[in-house]
């Protein structure tokens, strides 16, 4: 067997095994060394490939696909710095627990560390930010090595998907010739859905006595809260709500928990804590005995500061992925159990029916805050807060809202409140970067309906290259570009007092006219001047195919003032309510 036959047998076996294990999408960047895998992927009938020239964008695009699908997505690039461009998205996938299968082509051993072109050290290229790294063997076509290629493929998919999900990296040394025999490759395709090794991975589940002990602790507490960040599976919504009702605990639900939107019962869902926990009176009114946390740490800084003050409380962190998501440093119990199973079994174990005075106080303050927050809708000028308040009204019934980091996610937290629609909310909260957001949203939009991306100008700028995929693949997305010409979040931080250097180092105004970006990528562009225009353009955008960019111009300084005024108004309202309630 010659080299080409060995390449064909080995690489085709591997690629087919990915398909057998239900990898349906691979994002491919053009390159020479990666040719064998690229050709075999594009030829495989069960795999769809997505071309993306900029590998940084490509990796975030794959991340978005995997986030939306909740299943492993593949990535392929050539050797050299191409692979290094994946790093930001690999890190984001690692911390946000998104399954990616990163395939990098490499020079063979004899061309490494000898000054050969596009040869870098790709062994453990992503350091500790992958769950598994394999330096693949050179192609061989013995039965044993074809079996090896398939086994690694199956393991890669299973490892990426197992909780906590995350990226895996397979590095393929490849020699010339790089063109496999595509006819012969078909012989290595097996009947669909017959992985060479079936990997059944169970989930963590507490023993009966562990469940009993936790249930006892929880039912003893009269005053407890449930805190929900981004959850691994939205199907656990009902289970969490059921547990909260059983305990009469309020559920402080992060906007990414998916608990604020949907048809489930929202009586126990507290959605305005980010606002009222800024208020000292409100903060002092609540002294929980127990904090029960699910999912990632919520976005809200006021909530974090509130939790850090509750030194009297037991803090139970439930994590099916057995991580350590507890930056407050106050956990008293780490509970490694699949979350839905945990909720159902604990709820079942609790028989007492608690007094709901505590829950009612939270509901009252939440209601008063919500009433006060409504005033944001009176703002006549375009403003960042009102934009997010309107989104819950104006998004289509079944839709996806992707939000950028920095200000948008915070405004979402403050202003995007409980609603009965099915609005899925997504963001990159593994490492909270402003990079790669456009591409992640485009990956999401590939498999989701009515996708809207709300993003600030610096973050939009950072990943404009991602828009090429929208142009070439004719993707549908509505981008709300909140343009305050620079880094809006810094106005809220102590840096804002450094007047002399503020604009240089933090404000960083760029003066970009993004209509040119829209033209470059064939997008429809509207810069709206007022709310009427916004409403018309936004609702109309879902009737139009392709890329739609709606620029909402705002001002950093007035945005800060508006937020401050609103919070101060809310404080007065809460004070009145609390005076009445507590007296």
């Amino acid at each position: 067997m010659n080299d080409r036959d060995a390449l064909t047998a080995y690489a085709a076996s591997f690629v087919d095994e990915l398909a057998q294990n239900e990898v349906k999408h691979v994002v491919v960047s053009p390159g020479s060394r990666s040719t064998p895998l690229a050709l075999l992927l594009v030829e495989h009938p069960d795999i769809e490939i997505h071309i993306n020239v900029d590998e940084r964008s490509a990796a975030f695009f794959a991340l978005g696909l995997a986030k939306a699908l909740k299943e492993p997505v593949g990535l392929l690039c050539t050797s050299g710095t191409a692979a290094a461009n994946y790093y930001p998205a690999v890190i984001e996938a690692f911390y946000s627990r998104v399954p990616l299968i990163v395939l990098t082509a490499d020079r063979p051993h004899e061309l490494r560390d000898v000054g050969a072109p596009q040869a870098i050290d790709q062994i453990h290229l992503y350091g500790r930010h992958v769950k598994w790294f394999v330096e693949m063997a050179l192609p061989e076509s013995t039965d044993g090595m074809m079996r090896y290629a398939r086994t690694v493929g199956a393991r890669a998919v299973a490892t990426a998907a197992a909780e906590p999900a995350g990226p895996v990296h397979l590095n393929f040394p490849l020699r010339e010739p790089l063109i496999p025999d595509l006819d012969q490759a078909k012989e290595y395709r097996q009947n669909k859905r017959t992985p060479s090794v079936l990997i059944d991975s169970g989930e963590r589940s507490l023993s009966a006595s562990q469940v009993e002990a936790v249930a006892t602790t929880l039912s003893k507490a009269k005053q407890g809260i449930i805190v929900c960040g981004e959850l691994p599976h939205p199907e656990m919504k009902e289970a969490i709500v059921a547990l909260a009702k059983k305990l009469a605990f309020p559920v402080l639900a992060d906007p990414l928990s998916q608990l604020r939107s949907g048809s489930h019962d929202k009586a126990v869902i507290i959605d305005t804590y980010d606002t009222f926990l800024r208020d000292e009176t409100a903060k002092a009114a609540f002294r929980p005995e127990v904090i029960l946390r699910f999912g990632a740490m919520p976005v809200s800084k006021p909530l974090l500061l509130f939790m850090k003050k509750q030194k009297q409380a037991l803090t139970l962190v439930v994590d099916g992925g057995a991580g350590w998501r507890e930056p407050a440093g106050l956990a008293t119990n780490m509970i490694y159990s699949e979350e839905k199973d945990f909720c159902l079994r604990i709820a079942e174990s609790i028989t007492s029916s608690p007094d709901d005075e505590w829950l009612r106080l939270w509901q009252t303050v939440n209601g008063a805050t919500k009433d006060a927050l409504v005033s944001v809708r009176d703002e006549a000028e375009l403003s960042e807060g009102k934009l997010f308040a309107l989104l819950a009204d104006m998004m289509p019934l079944e839709s996806t809202l992707f939000v950028g980091n920095s200000m948008p996610i915070r405004d979402l937290d403050t202003f995007f409140l409980n609603n009965g629609k099915g609005i899925q909310t997504i963001a990159n909260r593994g490492a909270n970067g402003i990079d790669g957001v456009v591409s992640t949203a485009l990956g999401v939009s590939t498999v989701s309906k009515n996708t809207v991306l709300a993003i600030g100008d610096l973050s939009f700028f950072h990943d404009m290259n991602g828009l090429l995929a929208a142009k070439l693949q004719k993707q549908n997305i509505t981008i709300l570009l909140v343009n305050n010409d620079g880094g809006g979040i810094f106005s809220f931080l102590p840096q804002a007092n450094e007047r002399e250097h503020f604009e240089t180092l933090f404000g960083t105004p760029h003066g970009l006219d993004f209509s040119h970006t829209a033209q470059l990528y064939g997008g429809k562009y509207n810069k709206v001047q007022n709310w009427d225009e916004f409403e018309k353009v936004f609702t109309g955008s879902f009737e139009i195919q392709g890329l739609k960019i709606i620029e909402v111009p705002t001002e950093r300084e007035s945005n800060l003032q508006k937020h401050r005024n609103l919070w101060s108004f809310v404080s007065q309202e809460i004070k009145m309510v609390l005076d009445r309630e507590i007296s």
Copy 2:
């Protein structure tokens, strides 16, 4: 002393030490955790900062500055994926031996691996692609710890600069408060040019007996060649030419060796080998006994294949950086010595005056090839080859030509021949990526006169974000955008035969109209239609300040044909000359 005082003393000492060690430029990306260093850098009178929002572009910009200055340049960003965006440029710097001092802000230890925002594992973030990594201590203001901060600063600069130069990475855990006292910081500035520790680093130099042995080997050989890739210091040009003349060896000079341009004697400089070594007759005519190599491996694939055939030859690789730049795998001698010193001492040791028949044969073939290559200038249509042939004529007397990877560097190699101007040629040949090229060229243009970037469309697309620096910092650069709507190099590779998938996987046409890019970044844009227009626009571009983009539209298919026709014509010409010479 409170936390803020400790932060001020420690960080100000460190920043001042960078300045004492003559770090004059730091490229800063906006962020919060990096605030103390950013503020102290911007305040330091001897340091100039350059703001760059996209960290990937920022790092390449710093690389360009360091390449042009041949001295260490700093980089600063905040924690999280921001730092991961530096990875491609860090890798390029490592392999191309460019000194960078990478400063990353990090969360303090108690906020690591606990799900805190923007906290990733930054320890050894760049793996083996840095020369030195330091996890800095938390700020303390004892004399000992201020001395520590200074010592690390001095070591970082010296380590980055020592041959082989390269990147170093210092990771700074920082707690709030993040605002240092800028008045107090001035107290930690020392009088200029007094490093806390002066690091004198000697260069590798052979012993007298080692020199004698090498000189004997070389002077015994009647037929030898000198091969020069990119050299660490252009000042060694004269020494190499002197040695070549002494030995009567031709110097096969890569376009990045700087040997093809300048006022030095070019009689021994062979500049068309990339063309004539494609010809089997010419290849067979030359059987060197010795190959003496300096610098990085040249770009030319025909040269590499030629050298790989010379199994009879002694291959001596001289490397002052003590690396292993020998992908041909045929080195018989590795000589770790500073290159200029080596040339001067060997030349001095050689007393015999050799026969120059061998050298004349190379000169004759080179001359014939050059005469044949002139025919490229007859091409009426816009073409990639002619463009590079014209550049030597049309570039200003003192100027810098930065070339992109993939096709431009190859066309430069073929068509940019010996000239008497002072044209500096630069490219990113550490890892040969198409990423970050725009930013690297902009970094170069910051400190160089009349900078021209010749780049393909995919590479230009990859780093369009880099152009924001050109807009904001009003930088002068002429960009020759060779647009063949996709990956032109693949037409030259075996992939071109895979007709069915070629355009999808390799050609990757994008259809972008780059006039919108020019408008976005406030650049002057011309898409030229013919050579007259090109000449007018190109020469005129040096009279205009700012960003000038000149698009040269070409076609991939006809480009391939033109190159093939030319090489075939050259082969006929060479055959005639060789028949005459050898008979």
